[in-house]
């Protein structure tokens, strides 16, 4: 089989395996969901805001909930590969090791997007704001893609560390700040009815982050995993 096809099949197989393990254990997505919903509920009751302000808050809350929930998912993603040194099994596969990065990033992206899909109707209900806009979905996909792309790289970086559970958020949150700011600004603008033309710069920034972290995974993932 051609190397490129093998590469894609390994990426797909790692993604499939993560979905299967999650389906069996249900240890990742349910925890992410509970955490994200808790954030939304608590803020709803803690901040008794006027309907106008609530609408503005929805975009920020969506991304706060997604960022923290996604970090939980990334931690679970590392611990899964550390269990019984399963990562060694992946490293032995005769294909460029960046395939592991894309497989893991794809599953992390899927889990966080699932959480976002559950959050949208809940935010609509609590914050009296229609969250179902196609451009908002696009921003969510781009923002989650960039966040999980960066998160997967940093998760791999912290995998050898004994303090990885603490290390990952410490590394991730400051570096992900531009992604989160761009996501919040673009989402807020869309919910406020701003024309997309005015939000282009934020959307391009997210797109650039997606490309940047994909390229970084392709080039550096093997080096990051080396002992």
């Amino acid at each position: 089989m051609k190397p490129m096809l093998h590469y894609l099949r390994v990426t797909w197989q790692i993604f499939r395996k993560d979905i299967r393990v999650e389906w069996r254990g249900r240890q990742g997505v349910p925890v992410m969901l509970v955490f994200a919903l808790l954030v939304v509920f608590l803020f709803n009751f803690a901040l008794q805001l006027s309907p106008n302000l609530q609408a503005g808050l929805a975009a920020g809350l969506l991304w706060v909930a997604l960022a923290f929930a996604s970090t939980l998912g990334l931690n679970r993603s590392i611990s899964l590969e550390r269990e019984s040194s399963a990562l060694d099994g992946l490293l032995l596969v005769p294909v460029d090791r960046s395939a592991i990065y894309f497989g893991k990033a794809l599953s992390n992206f899927t889990f966080t997007t699932l959480v976002a899909l559950v959050l949208l109707p809940i935010l609509s209900l609590f914050y009296q704001q229609n969250m179902f806009h196609l451009p908002l979905v696009l921003v969510i996909l781009l923002g989650v893609g960039a966040y999980t792309g960066l998160g997967t790289l940093l998760a791999a970086l912290s995998i050898q560390s004994r303090t990885r559970d603490v290390l990952l958020p410490i590394l991730l949150y400051p570096l992900a700040l531009p992604i989160l700011i761009a996501s919040v600004e673009a989402s807020r603008g869309i919910l406020a009815g701003q024309p997309l033309g005015e939000l282009q710069s934020w959307i391009y920034l997210l797109l650039a982050a997606d490309i940047l972290f994909s390229a970084a995974g392709l080039m550096f993932f093997e080096t990051i995993l080396e002992e």
Binding site: H6, R20, E83, A86, L90, L92, V93, P94
Partner: protein
Amino acid sequence: MFPIETDPSFQIVIRELVKRYHFQPVLNQLSLTLADGDFCILVGANGAGKTTLLRILATLVRPDRGEIYLGGKLIAQAPELRGEIGYIGHQPMFYNDLSAVENLRHYAHLYLCPDPEILIQNAIQAAGLGAAQHKPVRTFSRGMQQRLSIARALLHDPHLLLLDEPYTGLDTEAAQSLDERLQHLHQPGRIILLAAHQPGRLLKMASHIAWLQDGKISHHIPAASIPEVPALQAYLREEA
């Protein structure tokens, strides 16, 4: 699965390997050549660097210096060569929530094994895990996990087999079964390197023995020549 053009020169050549951990050299200018059909037992005291050497050969650890050639190709520059390597380490490398069959299927797909279901069933039967094949691996005993680990390492029919203390956790019956498996695997077209702290039972099966001392291979001799090296003989007697 990923056939190297096997010829009489199919061998693994290790040249001046150096690996340091925290500035302490574990392997220090280590050189070793294993030829096609060799079954070599790697012996050495605890901490001598046996596991490090095997992990470097499996491309799981990058050496600080030195080169490794497999079948004439530099191993570090040819990821496809990993398809020629089967590795059994201290950990079984499985996903505990998946069953034995699902774990093997995962690896069969990663290695693009042809007819994976037949291969998996054969591997499960050879490992003696037929009754437990659909149970999650987390319910397996250490011995069962080790047998499954051996099945995983052999699934893609590797030419270079690296085994790090493979008898750990095996009961007498499973150990005998592994003996038979190794004897069957010891044939032209394959190189076996097995690290063992107590190699007693293996000396009859092996073709060669390599003694790792002070980060180097101090002796690499045919197993039949052990009596000619009193120091090695004494070491083996001590460890027995």
